[in-house]
């Protein structure tokens, strides 16, 4: 029982990290269908933002880094969307290749600015230790990541369902032509959506600094996991992404306990392949009375 509970906590912790890195992609890939291979570099930009701020701000830097990283990564994403991606809408292969090139350029820029070796972001002292739950200690850093995820998911949900801008985003995602003919500026919606998606990647980058060192390839290491969560959840479905992250995180944690990390990864991939064979549209899909 104790083992099952311990793995449940570990699984939820992994789920939180998976969801954190996938949240931004639910916007740019899930909502806009843009396969952005440079998404990982927005995570990296967020992580380096935390690194830059820890000098002047000390132990409070992490809290400040969250909104700053959102803006920094969002701004980089916005520039990328304006300069390149908007010219490539509807051309997924071209977008994939171009953003992959941008990804390599951004990694090299990071090497030039911060050096090739990884750097450390010191966790603030208030994140030392952990919390004991039923004899299982959960690290404060893991709890902090879970808190970031809960706040981010709640904020996105409110944005999409309760704000005029969110309604416009959902309208454009569903039917771009009809949205334009209803008076919605699709260009503005594209820019805003890309800014938020990239900004969320920056927030993820700050969270990930609590789990390890920061290097130029930090984000690309997480990119595949992020895509898997979004695809398994169903493109553009926040609820699907949450459930997919929890499912994949728990599966990995339990298989890891009975075998080891590499086997767990293989099992997760096989499970995803089997799942997508049965349900290629992911966990959630648009349901209407139409036949499409």
């Amino acid at each position: 029982m104790h083992v099952a509970l311990a793995q449940l906590v570990t699984g939820l912790s992994i789920s939180a990290v998976l969801l954190l890195i996938a949240l931004g992609l639910t916007f740019t890939f899930g909502q806009m269908r843009v396969i952005n291979m440079a998404h990982g570099e927005f995570i990296m930009a967020g992580a380096y933002t935390a690194y830059m701020l820890q000098g002047p701000l000390g132990h409070q830097s992490l809290l400040v880094a969250l909104p700053v990283a959102f803006v920094v990564a969002g701004a980089i994403g916005l520039v990328l969307e304006r300069l390149l991606i908007r010219r490539l809408y509807g051309r997924p292969l071209d977008t994939l290749l171009v953003t992959w090139g941008v990804s390599l350029i951004l990694q090299q820029v990071a090497r030039d600015l911060f050096g090739a070796p990884n750097v450390e972001v010191r966790a603030p002292t208030w994140l030392d230790g952990g919390v004991d739950v039923g004899g299982i200690t959960i690290g404060a850093n893991r709890l902090f990541i879970m808190a970031i995820v809960v706040v981010s998911v709640t904020a996105i949900w409110f944005y999409l369902t309760r704000s005029p801008q969110g309604r416009r985003t959902r309208a454009v995602v569903e039917n771009r032509q009809l949205a334009a003919c209803s008076g919605i500026s699709t260009t503005t919606v594209d820019q805003r959506t890309f800014f938020i998606g990239s900004g969320l990647a920056g927030v993820a980058g700050v969270g990930i600094t609590l789990l390890g060192s920061v290097g130029p390839t930090l984000g690309s290491n997480y990119l595949i996991d992020a895509f898997l969560v979004v695809v398994v959840g169903g493109l553009g479905h926040l609820r699907g992404a949450v459930l997919a992250a929890i499912g994949l995180g728990l599966l990995r944690a339990y298989v890891e306990y009975w075998s080891h990390a590499s086997i767990a990864r293989v099992v997760v991939f096989l499970a995803i392949v089997a799942f997508l064979q049965a349900r290629p549209q992911g966990l959630f899909v648009l349901k209407t009375r139409s036949l499409q």
């Binding site: 005029p164 309604r167 416009r168 959902r170 309208a171 569903e174 039917n175 032509q177 009809l178 949205a179 334009a180 003919c181 209803s182 008076g183 919605i184 500026s185 699709t186 648009l286 349901k287 209407t288 009375r289 139409s290």
Partner: protein, 230 residues
């Protein structure tokens, strides 16, 4: 109000409209008719800016809107109800109306209520996802969404297509009311009787060209019926 002067429209290299000209006077209801595939929907797409005009120009209230994006045309006062009762299926009925109202600079506070007064059938369905409405209810919602922006010209693309008869009567009554209140309307329609009851003027397209145009009183003439028969 709207003047179309010699427009050509093509899908890639395939030309669909050839030198089409027509006029929609202020407060008039003009019906565009023709057999399937003659370019009626293409004409509306071009008027909304969804397709570029290869040549010619479109003016609205004296402004040349030929190169304008669709959302700019909507803000200028053109409402559009596309063919096939298109709605935002993931959004609720209320959200479908609200999203159009929020982006409109001209709409007054009561615009959503006014649109719902026209189609009271939608009132109890406001919290339902639009994708789960019947075809007739979706068509009413589609018209209501276009009206929420309080357009001065409404483009309607076959609003009765595939709709149950009782709702066709409600839609007809709504169009008659809007026309009576002074809204200019361009109606694409296949059913001759429906057009005869509603229109002030007609335009018949044939093979992408204007084959005939005139007052609606001519619509019963054999020569006109000949152009519309299969």
């Amino acid at each position: 109000m709207l003047t179309v002067s010699g427009i050509d429209v093509a899908y890639g290299r395939s030309r669909v409209l050839f030198d089409v000209s027509l006029e929609i006077p202020d407060r008039a209801l003009v019906c565009v008719m023709g057999r399937n595939g003659v370019g009626k929907t293409t004409l509306l797409h071009a008027l909304m800016g969804l397709l570029p005009c290869g040549s010619g120009r479109v003016t609205f209230d004296g402004s040349d809107i030929t190169g304008w994006r669709p959302e700019r045309r909507v803000k200028a006062g053109i409402g559009y109800v596309p063919q096939g009762h298109e709605v935002f299926g993931q959004l609720t009925v209320w959200e479908n109306l609200q999203v159009a109202w929020e982006v409109s600079t001209a709409a007054k506070a009561s615009a959503i209520d006014d649109a719902l007064d026209l189609f009271p059938r939608l009132r109890p369905l406001l919290k339902r996802r639009a994708g789960f409405l019947s075809g007739g209810q979706q068509q009413q919602l589609s018209i209501a969404r276009a009206l929420v922006g309080q357009p001065r010209l409404l483009l309607l693309d076959e609003p009765t297509e595939g709709i149950q008869p009782s709702i066709i009567l409600e839609i007809e009554a709504a169009i008659v009311g809007l026309h009576r209140d002074g809204l200019s309307i361009l109606l694409v329609e296949q059913y001759l009787d429906f057009a005869i009851r509603l229109a002030d003027q007609y335009v018949i397209l044939d093979a992408g060209e204007v084959a005939r145009a005139g007052p609606a009183s001519e619509l019963g003439e054999p020569a006109v019926r000949q152009l519309l028969s299969l």
